[in-house]
Amino acid sequence: MLEIRNLHVDVDGTEILHGLDLTVKTGEVHAIMGPNGSGKSTLAHVVSGRDGYEVSQGEVLLEGENVLEMEPEERACAGLFLGFQYPVEIPGVANSYFLKAALNAQRKARGQDELDALDFLKLVREKAALVQLDKELLERPVNSGFSGGEKKRNEILQMAVLEPKMAVLDETDSGLDIDALRVVAQGVNDLRGPERSILVITHYQRLLDHVVPDRVHVLMNGRIVRSGDKELAKELEEKGYGWLESEAVA
């Protein structure tokens, strides 16, 4: 599904990712863990197409297509989804209006019929119930005045409605209490399936108790320094990242 090859990325002239390789197969859930400043968010931003990141080498392939040549909206229409670490507040745009515009833009790009207001309402209410998001928040401006947990659940709601092939969740667990974490994890688990891949980027192991990954990768100093199964996450929780320091510089 997602293949990242030898990815080098500069931010303001400083190289942050130094040749990152990663392959996520269709139907798999992978986790990327790493200390602060290791390049986790840079990876998420580059994959989704945010400005301000210079790719000097390498490629990012989604089902064989190089997404680095696509605009952010084209990537989304190709089935890529980024769950934001800091969801953006957009005053004046109703949440449901935004979500309908997004869904229909994607459907249109794929040659599908746009959903009418009634069908959309039915769909979004059903998905909102799934992530336990108050229906009232659908009519409020996007993320405006939402609590931290509501913002993250709203990200999961968007993912549930848009049904991406490849979801990248950038620290979706940060700042959540345990109940909110469970809801978010449940939302992610509901989307697991043979057709869909998920890349969970996280600083902590606790989310992985609820969303059990097929593979775990450790990102340090801009490279994947170790990969393993879910046991690797537990090992990191016990030992921290220090013991991998030597591999990171090597």
Partner: protein
Amino acid sequence: MSEGVFFRSLRQRVEGQAALDEGSCKPERAERAELRRRALARATELGWPGSRDEAYKYTSLTKLGSVPFGNSDFAGIDDRELSHLPEGPLIWALGGQVMPSRARLDDLPAGIRVKGDDEAMTELHEQLAVDASSDFLGALSAATIQGAVVVDVDANTEVDVPLTVAFLAPRPSMGADHQSQAPRLLVRLAENASLRLLEWHDGTSARCLSHPLIHVELAAGASFEHLRLLEDGPNTEHLGRIRVEQARDSRYRLWNLALRGSLSRSEIEVALREPGAECELDGLSTARGKEHRDQHVLVHHAVPHGTSRQTFKSVLADRGRGIFTGKVQVDPQAQKTSAEQSNRSLLLSETALAETRPQLEIHADDVTCSHGATIGRLRDDALFYLRSRGIGTDEAKLMLTTAFAAEVTESLPEGPWRELAESRVRERLATLLQEEEQAS
């Protein structure tokens, strides 16, 4: 002073109108002729206001002195499509003159009376006499007035259907390339009366000077909702003035949407003359190309327990300019006044320019007054967020720009007015963004 092109042609015009007035056998017409000449002398003496005048600091009009004063003649029947205007009673004025054949006044509710032109102008005589010796625009209106609309609502009458007054700049008649018009509207609400009125200005592509004067008098307990939709032609200079007088516990609600025209200035003056009066003023300006918008507001709290709120916004593209001057004057006796003001501008280009001038003159101590002003651009993070969900850049920009304007349009009552305003604003913003896209 030396007489330029403008004043030469203005004098000819006013002399012609005065001669017609004198030719009539009605004594009030003879008085009007005399008033025109007096107003002409006053306007000529004052000249066009320029940047040395504080009120026109950013909107100098002196260059209009070299443009001839056009006539308001028109040829034939105007068949302009008005189907997008809300249903209900309609008054149609062309070049400031009421066209009875195009009016829809048959099903006017009881308690509301509408007068047009001669009858209305006679009724306005005293006001015109004051204007004739006031400032330049007042004198210009008194000198050149050709028609007027007077709307009266009787005490305790709630008019539940909105009234539409359409001021249309005439299509140019043969050989004339300059137009002018002095639209004039007086709305008087007696005690506890209520009315909703849409005032629509439409233009043609001809060069046109439009200088409307709108007076509103609200008696105790009256409530007036006033939507102004300014869609003048691309070569129109629109110099509008709205004067509102409010008695006890009256309520004035304005939406001033200055969407089109090469230059448009909306001078809005509201006087809260008795306790308990309340006014809420919302404005939205849009400018493209080298267009210029000026929203010049004065709210005068003359007595205690008055409430006012101003929310003025502008969306400026290309080399568009948006000026806001918002003055709140609170007299020493006007204790317990509550006044809010906000002005926000959204710039869609590097070359657009916004000027904001809050002016608070507060001479009472027990008052709540606040003001805020911001000038900004579309937020990159919001744009990226929308695009990351699959929404194309153009649509994402339109969504954010419309959202910016929505604070004004969403405060309109639900129904035809809001639908009309939202669709006109959206269409206009889409044009602004398209042009920006093409220029980049």
